[in-house]
Symmetry: C2
Subunit: 348 residues, 2 copies
DNA sequence: ACCTAGCATGAGATCGATTTCATAATCCCT
DNA sequence: AGGGATTATGAAATCGATCTCATGCTAGGT
């Protein structure tokens, strides 16, 4: 391959000048610059980024780890990350951790090996490798979290107000006349699950219905939603509304209801979370909380870059706006007052 | 940060020996090795991969570009890639090209800059940068294609028999008594679309029904499926079966049918392609072609590694097995013989 | 006891681009 | 015309790990 040396020789300048043409062109005289650029063209030279990184200690890369890349929620977030990273001149190194701690550590190790300038992790576990970096460098550590916010980590983060969103959902279900409401949680150890649960419980308490709130656990997958729903259908009294902490679980719940011949939304209301693309195409179209997925991704990049550029004294927690999207999967509950079956509009 | 130099000094050995402990431990005496490893532990040293790459001209990374990362089909393929890459000791640099040529070129350029050892592209366009590499290095060029196979590119590739799969689908629709069948294609310029179209047309010809085969074009997205379906519903005669070249378009078609009050599968049969996870959860569950998505991903990595290791003289085209999965979105057509409404079993 | 083969180790070159520092060339002002 | 400032360029050091080659050492064979 051609190196900067070849370019320099061919253009009759020193390596230093040739290199400057590419990285600090304003330092080079116009005529020289053009001559060098012509040679670059002719020889088809492109800079060896490895060598450049070694010297500059910048790689221009960021690592992003996701618990599950085939989860449509995450793939939207990643897309936002990708986009913002590219705009800022960074490439994305993607890691699917499959929710395994060991893989999370592996990717975190890459930061130490200088394979990337920073890392965004979308799970909720802080790999021990990163914890050590954080100890050492405090809020200057190039580490950002997305989606799940745990203040005690001391890491910048972008997310929505999960507790608030869950409160809204519950409140609207109660307003529609539901009393026996069930939750299908995500993994128990995730702060995201915890926050939503707290919000939901607060709503139940505010209505004096905390005693009737029942709970099952899933892992955000369609299949786990179906399983949880079947367990809930066996309960007495059977819940008239199920609030799932992911759209995929909600879709599993609807499928389970269909199998069990429980009409949705007439006999069972279902609410999801995320507003993945499929949410509007299932039957019935899903009422859900819309998370600004791409925005969350973009924001994490923004936070990371702020750290990399040295402007960031303390961890930032960015709360992005969510919105309750009303579609057709929620109907009136048994305690609805005749007149108000509630809103059923679809705003984009 | 600590370097190999610090380790060497602390352990009382030369840099060479310290480095050997980490990359060629069998060359170092047991006692020395243990002593060095102890120091590595104590100092929390981890190798600077940039420096190592510069010297070895290996990065241990592969680039993977996808037209759309939020497409569930691709995210499954990527997962397979990720998995196989990790097993082989490679990290994955993921690029979402959003179907834009410019972004494809950008990622391809990274290969030239030595940011990765090889590239797997899942789209169908060969970036010109790669074409140039291919010209120069022939089948030794570390480039592999996934999903879409274009023999003329001279690039190794992993994919299914798209024409054969499409033939099967059409054949089964005709066997079920359908005569007016419509296709919803993917992007026109993609060989994948072309291959499936060829297979479908061959089936139509074999039945003497090529004159009744109608065609619309989509872009694999749910929304494009809905649009295409609405156009098809306006035709006379209205097709009794629609074969979409992606599950997402099939889901869009089912949604359109619901809006138009056309019962599926009684009045309209729908077939998809890919067997994404959602396919079994929509209503009615979707008949489709199952592609071995993770396997395709794994295979591309395997092919790439074969090239990187220098064992590969000519481009390889790996055809992986697909399977027609019968669910409930296909019903008997108007020309069905009374007895045979066909199979409706669901094998996993 | 001597020789050879093989093992363990270190010195130093190397990968390719960047950057510091010094020098040469040019410019502008008094 | 002279001097200080400014601009353009080159020589050489540098980033950190690896690898070649040379050397010293040990073991085993005769």
């Amino acid at each position: 391959m051609t190196t900067i040396r070849d370019v320099a020789t061919a253009a009759g300048v020193s390596r230093a000048t040739a290199a400057r043409v590419l990285s600090n062109p304003e330092l080079v005289a116009e005529t020289t610059r053009l001559r060098v650029l012509e040679v670059v063209q002719r020889l088809g030279y492109s800079r060896n980024s490895v060598a450049a990184s070694l010297r500059t200690t910048r790689t221009g890369r960021i690592i992003v780890t996701v618990p599950d890349i085939s989860n449509p929620f995450f793939s939207r977030v990643i897309r936002g990350v990708e986009e913002a990273a590219q705009e800022a001149g960074y490439a994305v190194l993607l890691g699917d951790t499959r929710n395994e701690r060991e893989r999370e550590e592996q990717y975190a190790e890459m930061l130490n090996r200088r394979e990337a300038d920073g890392i965004i992790f979308l799970g909720h576990r802080l790999p021990t490798t990163l914890a050590r970096v954080l100890d050492r460098d405090g809020s200057r550590a190039p580490i950002v979290n997305g989606c799940e916010f745990t203040p005690s980590l001391g890491v910048s983060s972008a997310h929505i107000d999960n507790a608030g969103a869950a409160y809204e959902v519950m409140d609207s279900l109660y307003a529609m006349g539901h009393r026996d409401v069930a939750l299908v949680l995500g993994p128990q150890d995730s702060p995201l699950t915890r926050d939503r649960l707290i919000g939901a419980q607060r709503a139940a308490e505010d209505r004096g219905l905390i005693g009737r709130l029942v709970v099952e656990t899933g892992d955000f997958s369609v299949e786990s939603g179906r399983r949880a729903a079947n367990l809930l259908f066996a309960r007495t009294p059977r819940p008239t509304a199920i609030f799932c902490f992911s759209d995929e679980m909600a879709i599993g719940t609807i499928a389970a209801a269909r199998s069990a011949q429980i009409a949705c939304p007439e006999a069972l209301s279902v609410v999801g979370f995320d507003d993945i693309q499929m949410a509007r195409y299932v039957d019935p179209p899903l009422t859900t909380i819309r998370q600004p997925m791409a925005e969350i991704g973009r924001k994490t990049v923004e936070l990371l870059i702020a750290i990399l550029q040295g402007r960031q004294s303390a961890p930032v927690s960015a709360t992005l706006p969510h919105r309750l999207i009303i579609r057709q999967s929620v109907g009136a509950g048994p305690f609805a007052r005749a007149a108000s079956t509630g809103p059923t509009d679809e705003r984009s």
